[in-house]
Every structure is written in C-alpha cells, then in structure tokens.
Amino acid sequence: RWAMEQQIAVGEFFDAEDFVEVSQVHICADSEALGPSGVAFLEKLAGAPAEQRRVSVPTVTDPRGADFARVASIKQPEAIVALERRAADALATLGMILTDTCINYQSVLPPVRGEHLAFGDTGSVIYANSVCGARSNYEGGPAALAAALTGRVPRYGFHLDACRRGHRRWRVTQPPRSLSDWGALGALVGRAQESYWQVPVVEPAGGHKPTSDQLKHFGAAMASWGSTAMYHVCSVTPEAPPAEPGAAALELGHRDIDAFYDSFAPSREELDVVVFAAPQLSLLEMQQLARLLEGRRVHEATALLVATSPEIRHAAARAGLVAAIERAGGVVLEGVCFYQMHARVLAEANGWRTLMTNSAKLVNIIAGYGYEPALAPMERCVEAAVSGRIVR
C-alpha cells in the first residue's frame, strides 16, 4: 500500500495516465544517501511478513557506502560501516541481489530496446535510454523500492515516445582524445540543458564511433551536470535522427574541452588523493590503468583509489590486474563509489583536500563535500599520483 501511494502521487504529479510493468529494478540505497532514518525504514519493511516484503521483479543494487573488506585501508569509521551492514542486510532480506554497481548495463544484464525499466542511477538510466533504447525515468531509492514491490511504474517521461525526441543539436568538431574528454563533452552538453525533459542530439566528429566506456563517461557526466536522462548520437544510438551537416548546431571542440579542464584549479599543488570511479571501472579500464602503473610507485603522500563492481574486481583479479595496481600502491575497492563512501568523513579521517580524477562526473559532485578537484586524462592522473603533485 505504501508503494502504491508513492507511485500514485508521483504519477499524478507528472500526469501519468496509467502504469507500465518493468522487467528490472536497480536501486540506490547506500548508507550515505539513506542516513539512519532510511536504514530504519528499510529494516521495518524487511520485518514485514515474507509475502509482503519480497520484491516482485529482479532487483539489483547501486554501489554501497563501504567495501567491508577494505575499510581499514581508507580509515572508514566503524559507525559508518555498521550502518552500511544494516542497510545491506535489509536489502538482501527484501530479496534484492546485492550487485553494488552503477555499471549494471555493462556487468550484470544489458537492457534491450523497448524494455521498460526502473533504474536508480542517473548514469545507468541515461545509458539504458540512449545506448540500449530501453525505457526508464530516474527512479530514486524510495521510488525504485516501490517499483520493486509492485513490479510497475507510472507511465510518464521516458516511457513515452513523445518524450524521447531530440531537441537542440550539437556538433563535435574534433574527436575526443580520452575518456575524460568524453566526460568533459558530456558535462558541457549537460550543463546547457534546461531541464530533465530536454534530449540533446549530438553529431560526432568525422563519423567517429564511440565505445561503451566512452559513452558511459559521456552520459554519466551529462546526467550529472544537467538532469539529463537521454541523448542521441547520430549514426550510433538506436533512436537518433540522421546527422544534418547543414543544420544549425552548437559546436564543441578541443578548445572547449581544454577550457573545461582548466576551470578546475585547486589552490595547492600537493596532491592528496587520485580517484578512478564515477562510474565504476570496466574490465578494460582496469587493464588500461594497470598498464599505466606498471613499474611505477604511487607517491607516499598520495592515495590512489579505484572503484569497480564486485564482478569486475573478481575478473580483474583473475587477469592479474588487481595485483598490478596494488603493487604500485593503489587500492582497488569493490561495490562502492567514492562519493557514496561518506566522502566528507573520508576527507577528515585521511586529511584529504586536493583530488585528481579522470571523471567529469566526480568533479561536479565532490566540491560540495569539501574537496578541491582537478580533472585530467587517466595518463596524467597516474603521473600526478606518482609525483605527488597535480600535473596540469
């Protein structure tokens, strides 16, 4: 009943006419977002009779707030870890699969075209809508929980054809040079969107065909800097309109990307922490990082953290990539993302302030937690980690 009341209130707010069944739910329920009241809410629900508390469709989880096996290496306080354990236990009791990942579209079960979903991470929603042609709105934790219990969501927004059409056109004039370039492009497009209801159309440079990881960074940054749930890339994504070389479009090139990098300028050069996360790394990104760190050693005054999903960490360990990163002094965390790990508490516990990352999403989020971030390609982040100084 609680779930239906929540869904009716949201459905009426957005003028939904009915509900649509979903095949998968993905829920954000880390302890940093939940807080003690959210954890208590989940525990109360988990205490209900089995027939009332079990999710009715397959439900997987977004990153949690602690990697229980590696708490000591980043000085996470016990109180946070205890709260996270309570949340995880409640989610498991509700029948969810604790995948603890924001890249479920790469590592769990990729959505297919036309599939209706209730995804609970902005990066996973924008990827599912744009790249896979599936259909999901942003479903925050309580809404994803309601969808998991009822097996349906109010039919509005990106479940409807009318919402998925492109608006403003963008033309990329030079191919992005790195994953962080893709992220910067996504951020620039996302920042210019006026609301959730706008869908940008992007014409890539010279017929360039992006990879899954490139579109992952592009979409995650766009969703974070705007509130964007879908984009089209002409000749790449399934619902994109054709490129129109003569049509009016906003142009973006290397000069715009470089200016975006330059807009992040920490007040000192000493580098406290390098973070590869947001989104979690794919197996191929893990390999790229391991190769860059080969024969190198992270500076003693700098921490290097990597966040990936439990499945990808396991695969990376089998391939020798985790050992390679750890040999260089890095810490490979599973099932978490940096900003969901109570980043403000981590800053206080470790004395961290300056942060370098190749994630255009993370630089958007982390300043609010008291960090001074810098954005750079993965190669330059590694150079900085080794030298202990921000490399610009």
Binding site: P36, S37, G226
Partner: protein
Amino acid sequence: MSEIRGHRGIGRPVRGIALVAADNFSARYDLDRERGVFSRPAHRLFGQSYVRKVLVLNAAKGGVATSWMLAEMAARDLAPLALLLNYANPIMAQAAAFSGIPLIDRFERDITQAIATGDEVEVDPAEGLVRLRSKAPRSP
C-alpha cells in the same frame, strides 16, 4: 496579495520565508546536510542555511540520492519547509512523496524572479498555488 500558479504539486500547505536563487538543486551535490547549509562553493546560496525555508530554485539537477536525503533531513528537522522549482525532475517528485516536503513546479512565470529571498509565501500544493503574503524590502 499576488498569486503564482504552477502545476498541481505534492504535499500539505505551508507558510514560510523564501530563500531564492536562479540556480539549480541537488541535495547530494550542493548541501552540507549535517550543518544545514549550502556547501558547494559554486552555488549562489553557498554558506546559507536552507533549514525551514521555502527553497526557490530553477531546476533539479543530477543525483538520485536526493529522495532518501530529503527524508533524512526532515527526520532530523534540518530540511527546507517546501521546494518551489521551475522544473522538478522525477527525483524531486519522489522525494516530496517520500519525505512529506511540499513541492510545486512548472509555474506560469519564472518562480526565481517572482519571489525574492525574505518574502513570506503560502504554498498550496493541492491547488498548485503560491501566494505572496508579504514582500521583503527590495534593493534599489
């Protein structure tokens, strides 16, 4: 007394003092939820307390965590009294439904221009109406 009409909202009617900026909003990105202040240096309300204010901003930004976070803020009496946005996204609507914090959006004119910080307003979500009860002094 002037009225500003929006789309039908969510939540109970409330009356309070407005805190306004033509900026966007995300609980995770912008707030120090322990101290009840805006903590993102680039935000126009940086350093200001939003606690028990009618928060008037432009649009919802990325971040799905806002719906849990607003409920936690309300449980600790460190939440805004209501949210008025030009454009909510689903997360804000879900947050309002879950936390009980009233929300209205899609106004007939730019709500961040129609109301100024310090104005006293009445928020009536069922009617989709904001009534301006008294105006704060405007700078010349």
